[in-house]
Structure formats: structure tokens, C-alpha cells
């Protein structure tokens, strides 16, 4: 039988059920001891949203409600354990789509209530930081993390567990958003990241010299000018090859991200750099940041592709650490769509 809330100690035998529903993946996972992934199930809604060219919140919420029960069942089954071995339940409470988040939060709190185990609300961004560490548990602090997804572009200093400082971010579009918008403009479909990545492999990255905004100016980034430059270029030179545009655009984004990440790591005195978020699956970013880190003798942590995109193993892992750091979250917690990374948690 699981421990009751009052006498739970969080250690290497603690099993956390993680639940993630912040955007367009319904996911559940069982993780033991904070980093040993017993199961990780992800039901993607990619196909449901593809024809709309982006995630539609109401459609996402409906799909989460349909998927949540089977996804939790599969995660428990695949772990080889049963519900009564679950010691705590973690769910993403933000940031994300409110209606989507609430499905996971309601399910997680219900599991916690029935099993009489702690519930812990997890910050989705913090979980992405733990995704990098899940694949490489020997990561040393201080650590510089580049978190790049459809909703975020952040440079985060991690001095120790739970202590973060955002030192750089986008002034306008997130990196993934820039990929989606340019892909839509080039008629490459949704999601834009993988489409541009694939096409760019066949193109010439030096064909067009797109602007690298703010390259030598602080740690913030900006991608809206780049998007405009792509549009202007196509209007001016309609004969240019789409594969060259894709490769040159991608190179412009990656050059800026890599330069800023390395500068931030140097400022922090970090010897290790990690990347996370959906855009961290981009093959050009992965190879360029590896080369740049090798040159500076930095260790680079490249999470597996399944740990870059949204999953619940990272939620369970972050939840395990959160329980150790700040304890359980009250059952009257809701969802916080605009939750920031450095906001103090209960």
C-alpha cells in the first residue's frame, strides 16, 4: 500500500505518476526515483490539428478528455506496476491552454484523492529542463539550458535544482512559431519544424544571407524580422528554390540560438549546455550546437527526440524533484495558463 501523505519520504524508490495535457499531446508516465522511466505514453493530436495549421484549443481539450483514461491505463500497464504502487501524482499546471491543462489536473487530483497520495503541480517549462537531465542524470550544475519550442525561446541558468534565472528570451515570436509561420508561407504544411528541417537538408544554407537579428547584442533574440525577410525575399525573387530558402532560414535561426547559448554559458561559467523543447529536435541545431560546444570544450546534453517534445516522464521527474524541494500541492490547485518559470511555487 502506498504511504500516506504525511509520512511520505521522497527517495530512489518513490514512484511518481506524471500527467501532461498542456498543449496537443496527452501523456502519462511512471517514473521511479526521479529519473528511472518505467513507462512513457504519448497520444499525439498532431493529425487532428494539422488541417487548421495550428493547435485549436477547444479541439485539443476534447481530444485530451477522450485520450486521458486510456493513456493513463497504458502508462500503468507498461510500467509493470499497479495503481497501488503509485506514491505521488504530478501534473502540468501551466503554462499552456487552460481547457487542456484542466483535464490533466482534474485527472491527477482524482488519482491522488483515491489513492490518498500527494498531488504535485508541475511547471511545464521546469519539466522541459528535467527532460534534458532524464537522458543524462550525471549533468553538473551550473548548467545553461536553451529551451526552444512553439511557445518558448528561453536561455535559462540552472544553478541547482529548482533555482533558475532566465537570462535571454525572444522579444517576439518563439523559435518554433517562426518555423511554423515560415513553413506555412512556403506551403510546407504543419508542423513547420520537421518540414523545414527535412527540406533544408537538400538546400544550400548559404544561398541567401538572411538577417541574424541582435546577433551581437545581449542574450535576447528576435525572429519577426527574419520572417518578414523571408516573405520579402520570395516576393522579390519568386524563382528562388524553396529548399534554399528553408536551409538559409533555418541557418539564420540556428546561428543566433547557438551564439547566444554559448555566450550565456560563458557568462554563467557553466561547463555544460543542454537543449530542450520541440525545436531541440531540429537536426541542424543539434549538430551546430555540438560543434560549437566542442570548440569551447563545453559538455553538451542533447536529449533524445522523445524527450525534446512534450511527454509525461519529464513531468513525473520534475514532480519528484518538486516534492523534495517544496512538498505537495493542495488539492484546490487549478491551472495557470501563463505560469512563468521563475515564479515561486507553493
Amino acid at each position: 500500500m502506498s504511504s500516506t501523505i504525511s509520512d511520505l519520504t521522497i527517495d530512489s524508490s518513490t514512484v511518481v505518476l506524471g500527467i501532461e495535457t498542456s498543449c496537443d499531446e496527452t501523456a502519462a508516465s511512471l517514473v521511479i526515483g526521479g529519473n528511472d522511466v518505467l513507462s512513457s505514453v504519448v497520444a499525439s493530436q498532431l493529425e487532428i490539428h494539422a488541417r487548421f495549421g495550428g493547435v485549436v484549443p477547444e479541439i485539443a481539450s476534447r481530444a485530451h478528455l477522450e485520450a486521458i483514461t486510456p493513456v493513463i491505463s497504458q502508462a500503468v500497464e507498461k510500467s509493470g506496476l499497479s495503481f497501488d504502487r503509485v506514491d505521488a501524482v504530478a501534473a502540468t499546471v501551466g503554462p499552456g491552454l487552460i481547457g487542456a491543462l484542466l483535464v490533466g489536473v482534474a485527472a491527477a487530483k482524482s488519482v491522488a484523492l483515491v489513492l490518498d497520495v500527494p498531488f504535485v503541480g508541475v511547471n511545464h517549462l521546469e519539466a522541459h529542463l528535467y527532460a534534458a537531465m532524464l537522458d543524462d542524470p550525471n549533468v553538473e550544475f551550473p548548467l545553461l539550458v536553451l529551451l526552444v519550442s512553439g511557445g518558448n525561446t528561453l536561455l535559462v541558468e540552472v544553478r541547482e535544482h529548482g533555482v533558475y534565472k532566465i537570462v535571454g528570451q525572444t522579444r517576439d515570436d518563439a523559435a518554433g512559431e517562426a518555423f511554423d509561420k515560415v513553413a506555412r508561407f512556403l506551403d510546407l504544411g504543419y508542423p513547420g519544424g520537421p518540414a523545414i528541417d527535412a527540406l533544408a537538408k537538400t538546400g544550400d544554407a548559404a544561398a541567401i544571407d538572411f538577417p541574424r537579428a541582435m546577433l551581437n547584442d545581449g542574450l535576447d533574440v528576435s525572429f519577426s524580422g527574419l520572417k518578414t525577410a523571408v516573405i520579402n525575399h520570395v516576393r522579390k525573387y519568386p524563382e528562388s528554390k524553396t529548399k534554399d530558402i528553408a536551409a538559409s532560414f533555418q541557418a539564420a535561426v540556428v546561428d543566433v540560438l547557438v551564439a547566444k547559448t554559448l555566450r550565456a554559458a560563458e557568462n554563467l561559467g557553466a561547463r555544460t549546455v543542454a537543449i530542450g523543447g520541440g525545436v531541440a529536435a531540429n537536426s541542424y541545431l543539434r549538430s551546430e550546437i555540438s560543434v560549437a560546444c566542442a570548440r569551447k570544450d563545453f559538455r553538451v546534453v542533447l536529449p533524445s527526440l522523445t524527450m525534446c517534445t512534450d511527454n509525461a516522464a519529464m513531468i513525473a521527474s520534475a514532480g519528484w524533484h518538486r516534492l523534495r524541494l517544496t512538498g505537495a500541492t493542495a488539492l484546490d490547485a487549478g491551472a495557470y495558463p501563463n505560469l512563468g518559470l521563475t515564479v515561486a511555487q507553493k
Binding site: E58, R62, I68, A106, L113, V114, D332
Partner: protein
């Protein structure tokens, strides 16, 4: 048979536990869209009040809508998950069925309504003359004027219940007056479906094992997502 009933399809959160003979405990809070925050602690306190441990619950009943999408989903996700972890059956009942059952037996046709916002209603009609209410007109969503026309079509004296019609009572009364139909309005206290009534309906169905699994139970939206509606319009034009 211990029934836990959950209702979050309007701007109220309602929880009840009965033992199929009587209500053991219940709570009803108007939530102003704080369904997620309120529901789990309310289930906990109602079960404590009823002196029922979670593992003693035999069946979970939930209002599946129509109503507030986000509120409905909080209740359905919670009910499904409770049933899943306890490995017990679940009974999903529509908000309109619950409303119809909440009024007294009558010879009138019962028009149950839920506010659908944007000047629209969800509605269905029932016969409530002998025992459990029987649906005589399946649930739909539409304009207030369509609901009135539906009632006029039926040409029967009616008892109207629910927060949908209540919100539009003036407009509906006005257009119904001219028709000469005899209209009765249910008490304002019955405007929102209640978990107490849901628990009674569920206890009856549970006797005949008329239940579902936690995977089977689905929300009753009646209205497609806006993006879907816009997409269909674009495709058809």
C-alpha cells in the same frame, strides 16, 4: 450500493453521495468558473461527511453535459479517473435529464433548458407524469426563438425548467403569451442540475447494471468547436 455523483456542467459545482436508499451527504457551490479548484476538495469533504472512504464507492455518476465545456470536462475527467483507479463502473447522465427529473410529476410536458450562451439554449422535452421522466424530444442546441417554436409545435401546456430559459424568461414569456399555451416556470432553485438528483437517477440505473466503463463515457457537447464549424463552412462553400 454507494453512489458518488458529480455535476459541473453549469456555473455550479455539485457533489452528492447516496447509498441508493438515501442521501448521505452533499454540497453545492456556485463556482464562477472555479470548477477545477473546488471539485476535488468537495468530493473529499462530502465523502468525509458521509463517512464513506473512497474505496467504498461502488459507482460514479457524472453529468456529461450539455453545458459549460470546460466545467463539464473537469467533472467528466474527474469521474472517469476515479472510476478508473477504483475499477468501478460509471454512469453518465445528461444535464437536461437531471433537470427534468428534478421537477415534480406533472401532466405538462417538461421543457428542460441549459444556457448555451450567444443567445442560444440547449433543450430537450420530457414526459414526467408517472415516475422517471421519459424523453419525448431529444436534446438540441439552437436559438431561443427555435426553442419557443418547438414548444408551440408540440401544442401542449408546459413546465419550463433550467438556467437557459431562466436567462431568457422575459423574451420567452412574451412570445409564448400570444400562443395561449399554458406555461408554468419551475422554481429558480432548480435552475442548475443537482448532484442529489443525479445520484438518485444513477442509483436506479445501477440496480439494473445500466452503466458504462470509464473509457466509454463521453461528453455530450451538442455544439461543434468554432474552428470545426468555420472549417465546414469553408469546405462547403
Amino acid at each position: 450500493m454507494i453512489v458518488l455523483a458529480i455535476d459541473t456542467s453549469t456555473d455550479a459545482v455539485s457533489v452528492a453521495i447516496n447509498n441508493s436508499k438515501q442521501l448521505l451527504a452533499s454540497a453545492h457551490v456556485t463556482s464562477d468558473r472555479r470548477h477545477a479548484e473546488l471539485l476535488t476538495p468537495m468530493i473529499k469533504s462530502v465523502s468525509q461527511q458521509a463517512d464513506i472512504a473512497m474505496f467504498e464507492i461502488d459507482v460514479v455518476a457524472v453529468d456529461i453535459g450539455p453545458g459549460l465545456f470546460t466545467g463539464m470536462r473537469v467533472g467528466i475527467a474527474s469521474a472517469k479517473t476515479i472510476a478508473q483507479v477504483l475499477d468501478i463502473p460509471i454512469i453518465g447522465i445528461s444535464s437536461l435529464d437531471i433537470l427534468a427529473r428534478s421537477v415534480v410529476a406533472t401532466q405538462r410536458v417538461v421543457l428542460a433548458t441549459i444556457d448555451a450562451r450567444r443567445g442560444e439554449l440547449y433543450w430537450a422535452m420530457y414526459r414526467n407524469d408517472l415516475g422517471p421522466s421519459i424523453e419525448v424530444k431529444p436534446p438540441v442546441v439552437g436559438k431561443v426563438s427555435d426553442c419557443v417554436a418547438d414548444l408551440v409545435d408540440r401544442g401542449q401546456s408546459a413546465l419550463i425548467v433550467g438556467n437557459g430559459a431562466q436567462r431568457h424568461q422575459n423574451a420567452m414569456s412574451e412570445s409564448l403569451e400570444a400562443t395561449g399555451l399554458s406555461i408554468e416556470w419551475a422554481s429558480e432553485q432548480l435552475a442548475q442540475p443537482s448532484a442529489n438528483v443525479l445520484a438518485i437517477i444513477a442509483a436506479e440505473l445501477a440496480l439494473h447494471e445500466q452503466w458504462q466503463t470509464c473509457v466509454e463515457v463521453q461528453a455530450l457537447y451538442l455544439r461543434a468547436p468554432d474552428a470545426e464549424i468555420n472549417w465546414q463552412t469553408r469546405v462547403n462553400s
